[in-house]
Structure formats: C-alpha cells, structure tokens
C-alpha cells in the first residue's frame, strides 16, 4: 500500500505570514446528541473533554471541536482514525450516532506569524479581535467553506480537499509581502 498523500503534498508559501499545508490528519465526524457515555467516548479517542458551543478542546496531537449542536470533529493522528471509529462504535454501541472517517476529505493548513490574522481577515468575515483562544470558527474563505482556530503562533485552517489548491492560492495571495493590513 502507498503512503497517504495530502491534497497538495505539503505545499508552502512565505509571505508576511507563512502558509503551509499539513497533514494528512486523522479526522472523524461524530454526529451524536444526548447520548450516554459520549464524553467518555470522546475522551478515550482524543483525550479531551467534550467542547462547549463553538469551542475546540486540544490535547497534544488530538482535538475535539464543536461543529453544531449534534456534530463534533475529532482530530487524531492519521493512522489512528480507523481505531478512533472502532473505539466510538464500541463505546456508543446500540445508541443513535454516526461516526464517519473524513480524514481524506479535508485539506489542512497552518497560517503562522505575527500577522497571520491579517491574511485570514482578507478572506473571512471574522472579527479576530473577538476570536477567543480555543474558539473554532466555521466560516468561509472567499467562496468556500472553511473553519479555523488559533493555535500556537498562528491558525489551523481546515477546508474541503477538492478546494485545497484554491484555499492555498487564496492564502498565498493574501499573505503577499507588502499587502499587510497594518
């Protein structure tokens, strides 16, 4: 079997903010609400608590993000996605939920540097001054759906795989040296 290949093979761009594709990451869409043992099941997979509305809980390489009142996004190392689903299936067996592997359906970028928010502010209608640490924002990047959260010296941006190149080109265009917003 081949090595898994991310959408852009780890492309990067250096501008007033630095853009690089990361991944592939393991990602699981978990749809569930008011299910017994949900918090324990998530903890077993990601090591995090269940996130509150619009928040993301991060623990090392793993994270769990609130996506909607009945949907979470679980992030784990790529090789662990299958095991994560097996864990969830076992823990929540008999109850109504859906765990789907979406590791390959996404492209993930890091936008880093002191002015990372400025690159994103050209694409997403987000008030970065009001974006809290640990808050996940589902929004759009220009014409496509995107989500991001602040982490370390920048932001982790997730979009659909098929538009990975579009989003990378957008971010690179936004981060063009000389076009800083402030």
């Amino acid at each position: 079997m081949s090595e898994p290949v991310s959408a852009l093979g780890g492309a990067s761009f250096t501008g007033f903010a630095n853009v690089r594709e990361i991944g592939p990451l393991g990602m699981v869409t978990l749809r569930a609400k008011d299910v017994a043992g949900l918090a324990d099941a998530v903890k077993a997979v990601t090591g995090t608590a269940l996130p509150a509305t619009r928040r993301i809980e991060v623990a090392g390489d793993c994270a769990c993000a609130w996506m909607s009142p009945d949907e979470y996004l679980l992030v784990v190392p790529y090789a662990q996605a299958g095991a994560a689903i097996a864990t969830l299936n076992a823990a929540l067996k008999g109850q109504h939920f859906l765990a789907a592997d979406v590791s390959d359906a996404r492209a993930v970028f890091r936008v880093e540097g002191d002015k990372a928010a400025q690159a994103l502010a050209k694409l997403s209608p987000v008030d970065f001054a009001a974006l809290q640490p640990g808050e996940l924002r589902r929004t759009r990047a220009a014409q496509v759906a995107a989500a991001f959260w602040q982490q370390g010296n920048g932001y982790t941006v997730v979009c659909f795989r098929s538009v990975g190149k579009y989003v990378f080109d957008l971010l690179s265009s936004s981060a063009m040296p000389g076009s800083e917003l402030a």
Partner: protein, 1006 residues
C-alpha cells in the same frame, strides 16, 4: 495664466520635483501635488471637453466633486479612464491624456454641437431618435456614441491586483476633518473600538486651509496633535486614502482604500475594498460648495471659491493674477483675503446680497478690496479662458453696468452638507432655510435592527457650518453614539475654535434673478452632462414635475460626478419653475458608491487562478499530465476526453468508447456524490426520499434510485448501497452532492426532526475509479487481494477488501452496459491506486476515458442522465421509469405531485429512441413537428431530442428524446424541424427503443 507662486504651499515639498506628462507634454510638479494642482501650476487650465456640446472645460473644484477635470491615466495594463485629477495624487512618471475631443483638446470638431445647442435641448435624443424604432439601435445610437462620451475603455488586462478585507468596530468615523478627528478622540478615549476613514492622504479637512484657530493654536497644529493621540491608541485604526463608499443595513459599510494608486507597480494591491461591520457610524463628511448659475459659468477659469483657496494655500498655485470673487455668502471672502495675502489681485468681490456686513467683508474692505453689493454676473467674457466679467444688478435682468478684466472667477453659492452616507440607508433630510441646504434630520436617521439610529451625522455634514459649531456638534454626536452603544463616554472639553461671525447667506439660484432666455441658455448646472438652467425649465414646462423624472429627462446629475455640484441648484431651479418650495420638490435618491469604485476592487482577489474555486479530484494532476481536455461539471473540472497527438476530440472520444467496449477503460468517478445515511429511522427516511423502496435492500446489495422534489419532478438519481443494518450509502450525481445533502438535512431538521437519522457527506473522502469493459475483471485480478468473480461479487452488490494492497470498497455497478466495477479508495491513496490500475491494465489495453465517452455509452444503453433527459419539468414516468417507483408505499416525496392531472395525463411526452433515416446525428434539442400552427403562428410540436450522439459502437447517429405517446409509436417515422445556415428544413427519423445496445444486459452481467 495659472501658475505656481514663489512661496507657500502647505502640502507640497518643493525639494522633491516630479515629472509627468499631459497629452504627451512633459510637465513638472511637486511631491504633495494633486494632478489638478500640478496642471494649474503649468497653466493647463483647459483639461477636457464636455459630454454633449464639447465645450472647453477647466478645473472647477479641488476635491471629489470635480465634474470636469477627468483624464485617461496611465497606459497598457494600467490605463484607467475618467480619473479625477483633483483626487489623483501626483507621482513621478504619471501619464495623463484628456478625454472626449477629436482631433485635439484645443481644436475639437465636436464643438459644432455647441453652435447648434439650441437644437439640442433637454430630451432632444428621446424626441428626435425615437422613430423609426429600429433606427435607434442600429443607426442613431452608434453615431451618438461616437460623438459623446468620456474616457476610452481599457483594452489590456489589468496589470494590478486588488483585494478585500473585513473589519469590525464599535464606531466608524467617516471623514478625517476636525469634526471626525474630535469624534474619534471622544470615542477612542472612552475605550471604544474606532476606525477613522479619510478619503484623501491628508488629515484635517478644510480647517487648516481656512486658517482656523482651535484651542488657541492654528488648526493644523491641533490636527497634528489629534492624529498623534489617535495613532497611539491601540483601540483606534486610522485609514487615509480610504473613501467611505456606501452604508448598508445593520451597520455594514464598504470603503475603498487606494493603496497604491500613487505608487503604481510597487507590488502592493492597487485598491483594497474594506467590508466593515460597525456598531454605529458617524459621518463627518463635511460639505461641498455650490456653483452659482450665471451665464458663462462653465468657461475655464471659473472655479469654486473655496477650491481657489485650496490651490493657493495648499499647493501655492494661483488660478490667475486677477481673480474676481462672486458670492452670496461671507465664506467666499476668505478666498479674496487668501489671494490678496498671497500677493495676488482681487479686482472686485461681487456680492449678490444688498447689504454686506460681517467680520470677513470688513477684513476684505480693510485690505482695500472693492466690494460690489447687490450685484451679480451678467456674463463671463472669454472662450477657452476667462478674460473678464460683466456686472449687472442681481435684482435686474442682466443689463451690464460694468465690465472688469480678470483671469479667473471664484464663485460661491453656499455650501451643501455631504449627506450621501446618511441617506444611503434611508436617513431623511430637512431643508435649512437659513443656509439654503438640505441637512440630516436627526429625528429620522437610518435605523438599525433595534429601531435606534445607525448613522450619526456630525459637524458641517450635519449643518453645523462653523468650525466652532462643528467641533461642538461632533462632541455631542460622538457621545450620543457611544451612549447608544452602551459605552460610557469619558468626560472632556470640547475644543474651542475662535469664532468668526458670519452674516447670513442669501439663496441665489439664478444670477441675475430676472435673467432672460439668452442668459439662461448659458447658465450651466451640470458641467459634465451639459445641462443648463434652460433645460430644467423646459422640462418643467413639458410637465416633468418629479425631480427623479427631470433628472432622467435632462440627465442632470447623471454623469460620473453624480451631481455633487449640480443637484441642489438643479432642483432649486426646478422648484422655481414649478412654483413650489424646494423641500416639496425634494432630492433625488442618494445611492452608493459616494465616488466611483473601480470594478477591480469589487472583484477583489477573485481573478485568474482564484476567480472561482476549482474543485480537483485526487487524480486531477494525472489528468493534466495526460493532456486531458476538461469540461466544467459544477465547480469540478472533469476530463471530457484524453486526446492523443493528432486526434480530434471526436476521434479521441470514439477511440475511448470502442476501447472500453472491447478491452477495458478507466474513469475518474471521484466527483460522484457519496452520502452516508444512518440511524434507526434511516430506512424509513430513504423510503420517503426515493421513489423506490430502500429499506428492504439487503446488506451488501445495491439498488438504483430516483429522487423527486415535492412537485414530483425528477431531481437526482444514483445507486444506493446497504452498508449495515442501519447504514446506507447514497450515491448522487456529481453536481448534486451538496444539494442533495442539504435537501436531506432540510427534511431532517425542519420536518422530520424527531426521526433518528444522521447524514454525513463523504463525497471527498474517497477517490472512486470505474474499471469498465470486458477485461475489467482481469485487471482487478492482476491487482489481486479479493475475489471479484461473478459468484463472489455479482452485479449490483458491493464488497470491502483490498486490491493491490489498497483498502477498497468495490461496487459492481454499471453505467455503460459493460462489466464494470466502481472502486472507492481513500482519497489520499486515489492517485496511487489509479496509477496501479494503469500499470496492471497496460497489457490489457487499458485507456482512461472521459465524460463524453461516458455519455455516449450510457446513451447507447438508454440510461437517462439528470440534466439531459430531465430539466425540472420531467417526471420519472415520462422516462418509463415506473419500475423504480414503488406502488406499495403510502407516501414519498413527489408522490402527490405526480397524481396531479397534468402529470398523470396519458398525453405526456415520453422517452423513446430516435434514429435518423439517413443515419445522421439529429441536432440536440430539435423538436418533433406536428400538424398545424399554434396561436403564435409557430409549428406545433409533439416531442424533442434530449440526448444525441454518433455511436462509434453502432456506427450511426442515435438519439433519445421525449415524444407524445412515444412508446406506443415504435417504428413510426416522425419529422424534426432543423435550421442549417439559417435555412429551415426537416429531418425524418424512426421512433425506436431507447436501448440501442445489449438490450438484455448480458454484457454487464458476466
């Protein structure tokens, strides 16, 4: 002669001279000049020709209200027409050319229109060219367009880039004059998030030019201190060169930042469109001076009084040695004083008011300036330049009492607050009889979601016409806005400006007030569109009572300046002609943008590679490397065919079809929609969504299904696989995945919210590869890893396993009629799997095929295609798909719709095949003609083509289509209407079974 003065100029840097060209002539200016200032410094008073009469036009103003001085700027990829010289910052190497003249600016043949002006009155075009009707489009309009017009359209691709950005604040201050700056200080000191926009590159507005004194210091010093304090506040953002373009609902504001207009080619975006969401908006946008309507007021050298002051004080540019000031107010005396203080001559101030008192006139008198009270201008003397002015009594009809030689005329008809942004979202105006202008009505502001004011006008923009009053008003308005925002305003002093007492102005709409027709035909209201007092009065006589109608009839205010100078004067003249009060006549509607915003800024980053998101499958790069010719499918690009060198697309497609039918072909089917539906109620849910029954589908099996909308029309189709007891996987069309997923969620969230069903759109999780053809199984067996035999994996079943070491799910489904496997593999392995299949199939003759081969093969099999056989008016029964519609189910989406009598009619057009008697390909969309004509005199029709191809397999044209009573008419010959090279004809074709190839399905079921 206009010229540069030896001293002064608060905005120019005389140590930095800059070269530019105007109509090829090399000229010099200074850093800090506007292009208009630099042109005047070089005695270039004549800068263009008017739109209709091609009259000489000079610079009138010094700001965005300028109607005349528009030029073509730059060249090639940086060529821009209609650039306002008064707001264009000079830079080294700037190239400008004048507009709307032929053959040259000085000698323009179009000026002949001027001599026949009395034959070109308001509405002339409408009246003259309306008949005969077709002549407008083909004869009159092209000729008129030749003779009228402004700049040239750019021909080259724009060399610059543009972008947009989002910003958020509590208070957005539009306008960086002293009122705006003070309002920003109040809000900033109180801790509010503030953004301040200034359209020019300079803070402070008029106050420093007018030598105002604030808190005992020159206004310029006060401005410098205010800007320094604001810049130091982390909660305040200052933006120069940024024009507040439009105000929209809920505090949404668009602003255009000219990032690099003055530094072209430095790599930065040329413009940036700011999309600002503000809690409250404060407009401190100042006011625009009005011209006076006297005969010859459009001759180059006639300028607005305050603009003359701007040129003298800011740029040390004199419009002429001798300037006559014409006014109805005290403010214009500042211009006379500034001119005299700069060492220039003011032969007279002509004041329409009978009594001239006040501080400023007294100062003018003290400087020895002659003041002619109660007088007006009878006529301006001169052609391409002012040479003098003849004086009359303002109260009279224009009999000349004196003539004064001069080089320039500075006129002031009073000031109109800039109420545009206040008005964009419905803010109302009141007529102020004292200042004779419309100003914001504080009782009727544009309102927010909560009914509170969204916009606060402040300072001169709010009708507070002196610096002292403007600062006090800005303080009050800023505090009101903060209170509404729930932010406690910090107490502080209002800056105190020295008070200069001004006497009341007197409204003057026509000068002299009793002017006869000859004079009125030379009084310009709209300089750019050549609308005169006589035109508006004619419109009134012809019955145009509404200001909106008059505007469109006369084109008053419809030029690129949008009537910034002309609107108030025009509607005052209209009101007089109608014998009504000005407020009763009212204003035309103020619409964004305040000044033109270039389309590049509105498009933002969306051009070139990122014009539109292009969806790529994991195998997209391979297709590109293998010379695929792509076609758009939704936002995807799918290979249409893979032409080899020397092949036409048609030849390539035929090769792909034949190879797939005889050997094995590969199709990138990754774009196919894939939606997981899971839960205890999932079966029941799918039974509602699909016309057939999905709940009874055994685990491991596949079933073809149709989805209809509530009206019963066919919406999507695809194969459903039962994954486990409570999980199904629904395939949708490539273009339908997102729509169908949203459709599912809509029903689950809004209608059947208590059903236990979850969905997940996993379209992009998998690359899907179709291996198709008689040797498909051999290819998979070469990869190895799972049993794909007929027995282990029969038609319409699926199995998980591995192939060539890849984790796969294999579906035995066929859209071509051949032995076919569709193999889903995680997208991260998609390309590697595709390449492994290519390698394994090399000696089997494997070839990739594109969407056109796919379409031909499905048509040969009589399979329908959503979007070809369906168009939103077709029900499954029309396509003979009754077998896929459950008769047993109590309900499904579309069932009741299909029972309506029109859809249940036995006379509907139904699917059949067609074969032209001569074997040719019937044109797509062709209609089957019927006897007789309809009410419109057109041939009656009884059917139409939905898909038509040349079948390389059968070596003849094949087609599918809908025909009235179709299936009952097998073997009948029908006639299609054709049009070839404009000649109507018919084509005979036989009605046949739509399944042209392997009707019994033996080839797919092996």
């Amino acid at each position: 002669m206009s010229t540069r003065l030896a001293k002064g100029g608060r905005l120019i840097d005389r140590s930095a001279s800059q070269e530019f060209t105007f109509n090829g002539k090399r000229l010099k200016g200074y850093k800090g000049d506007t292009l208009a200032a630099a042109l005047l410094a070089n005695d270039q008073m004549l800068v263009g020709r008017s739109f209709k009469y091609h009259r000489p036009r000079g610079i009138v103003a010094a700001g965005p209200e300028e109607p005349n001085a528009l030029v073509n700027l730059g060249r090639g990829g940086r060529f821009e027409p209609n650039q306002r010289t008064t707001t264009t910052e000079l830079f080294d190497g700037l190239e400008a050319t004048s507009q709307n003249h032929w053959p040259s600016l000085e000698y323009d043949v179009g000026v002949v229109n001027n001599y026949v002006a009395r034959f070109l009155p308001a509405g002339f075009y409408y009246k003259t060219f309306i008949h005969p009707r077709p002549f407008w489009k083909h004869v009159f309009e092209p000729v008129i367009r030749q003779s009228a017009g402004l700049g040239k359209a750019p021909k080259d691709r724009d060399a610059d880039r543009y972008e947009q950005a989002y910003a958020f604040c509590d208070l957005l201050v539009v306008g960086g004059g002293v009122a705006g700056l003070h309002a920003a200080l109040v809000a900033g000191r109180s801790g509010a998030r503030v953004i301040v926009l200034e359209q020019t590159a300079i803070w402070g507005g008029r106050a420093p030019v007018d030598a105002e004194v604030i808190d005992g210091k020159p206004a310029g010093d006060w401005v410098e201190a205010a800007v320094a304090e604001l810049a130091a506040m982390p909660n305040v953002t200052l933006k120069i060169r940024t024009m507040g373009a439009g105000v929209y609902d809920h505090g949404y504001v668009l602003a255009d930042e000219k990032v690099a207009d003055h530094t072209p080619g430095d790599g930065r975006p040329k413009h940036r469109l700011w999309r600002i969401r503000a809690g409250k908006i404060l407009t401190a946008t100042g006011a625009i001076e009005r011209p006076l309507s006297f005969a010859g007021n459009d001759i180059p050298g006639v300028m607005l009084a305050a603009s003359v002051r701007d040129y003298v004080v800011n740029y040390a540019v004199s419009p002429g040695d001798r300037t006559v000031v014409v006014t109805n107010n005290d403010d214009a005396y500042r211009t006379a004083i500034a001119l005299v203080e700069a060492g220039l001559s003011v032969p007279a101030i002509i004041d329409a008011r009978a009594n001239v008192t006040g501080e400023l006139p007294a100062k003018a008198r003290a400087l020895g300036i002659r003041i002619e009270a109660g007088r007006g201008v009878a006529k301006v003397l001169g052609g391409k330049r002012v040479t003098g002015v003849s004086i009359c009594l303002q109260a009279g009809e224009g009999a000349v009492v004196d003539e004064i030689a001069c080089d320039a005329i500075a006129m002031s008809g009073g000031w109109s607050p800039v109420v545009h942004l206040y008005s964009h979202c419905g803010g109302k105006l009141v007529w102020d009889t004292v200042s004779a202008h419309f100003r914001p009505d504080a009782a009727k502001p544009p309102i927010n979601h909560d009914g509170g004011a969204m916009v606060y006008a402040a300072g001169i923009a709010n009708g507070a016409m002196t610096t002292a009053a403007a600062l006090a008003d800005a303080d009050t308005q800023a505090r009101a806005a903060l209170q509404a925002l729930g932010i406690a305003a910090k107490s502080g002093n209002v800056p105190q400006a020295d008070i200069v007492t001004e006497a009341a102005m007197e409204a003057v709409w026509i000068m002299p007030q009793g002017a006869g027709p000859a004079l009125k035909a030379k009084m310009w209201l709209d300089y750019q569109n050549d609308v005169k007092v006589s035109d508006v009065q004619l419109a009134a006589r012809e019955g145009y009572e509404s200001v909106e109608h008059t505007k469109r009839y006369t084109t008053l205010g419809m030029a690129t300046d949008q009537g910034k100078l002309s609107n108030i004067n025009g509607l005052a003249v209209l009101a007089q002609a109608l014998n009504e009060d000005i407020p009763q006549v009212g204003t035309t509607t103020f619409r964004p943008p305040y000044t033109p915003v270039t389309l590049g800024a509105l498009a933002g980053e969306a051009r070139g590679d990122i014009f539109q998101p292009l969806r790529r499958t994991p195998i997209h790069g391979w297709h590109e490397q293998h010379a695929a010719y792509f076609e758009p499918v939704g936002l995807w690009r799918r290979p249409y065919t893979f032409p080899r060198s020397g092949e036409t697309h048609a030849q390539a497609v035929h090769r792909e079809v034949l190879n797939t039918r005889t050997n094995v072909g590969m199709l990138d089917a990754s774009t196919l929609g894939k939606i997981i539906v899971k839960g205890p109620d999932a079966g029941r849910f799918l039974d509602m969504l699909y016309t057939g029954v999905m709940s009874t589908l055994p685990v491991g099996k596949c079933r073809y299904g149709l989805m209809c909308n509530e009206q019963g029309f066919l919406s999507d189709d695809g194969v459903v696989a039962r994954i486990d007891e409570d999980t199904w996987l629904c395939h949708t069309t490539s273009g339908g995945a997102d729509r169908i997923h949203a459709w599912m969620e809509d029903w689950l969230q809004c209608e059947w919210w208590d059903w236990k069903v979850y969905t997940a759109n996993v379209t992009e999780q998998y690359a899907q590869v179709a291996i198709v053809g008689p040797k498909a199984r051999q290819l998979l067996e070469k990869l190895g890893g799972m049993d794909v035999s007929r027995e282990a994996l029969p038609f319409m079943q699926w199995a998980d396993g591995t192939l060539g070491g890849f984790p796969v799910r294999v579906y035995r489904i066929s859209f071509s009629g051949e032995l076919s496997y569709e193999i889903a593999v995680p997208a991260s392995h998609g390309l590697a799997f595709w390449e492994a299949c290519q390698k394994a199939g090399a000696d089997l003759g494997v070839m990739p095929y594109g969407t056109e081969a796919l379409h031909i093969m499905r048509a040969e099999k009589g399979f329908i295609m959503i979007g070809d056989e369906t168009d939103g008016t077709v029900i499954p029964q029309d396509l003979n798909l009754d077998w896929a519609i459950s008769k047993k189910k109590e309900d499904f989406l579309g069932k009741r719709g299909q029972q309506r009598n029109h859809l249940a009619s036995p006379d509907r057009w139904k699917l059949v095949g067609f074969e032209a008697l001569d074997g040719s390909v019937i044109p797509d969309g062709a209609y089957v003609v019927d006897a007789g004509l309809n009410a419109n005199g057109q041939r009656n029709v009884q059917g139409r083509i939905t898909s038509t191809y040349f079948s390389p397999t059968l070596k003849k044209g094949i087609a599918m289509g809908l025909l009235k009573h179709g299936p009952k008419r097998m073997g009948e010959v029908v006639e299609f209407g054709t049009v070839k090279n404009g000649v109507k004809g018919t084509l005979k074709a036989r009605v046949v079974d739509p399944v042209f190839y392997d009707k019994d399905g033996e080839k797919q079921n092996v």
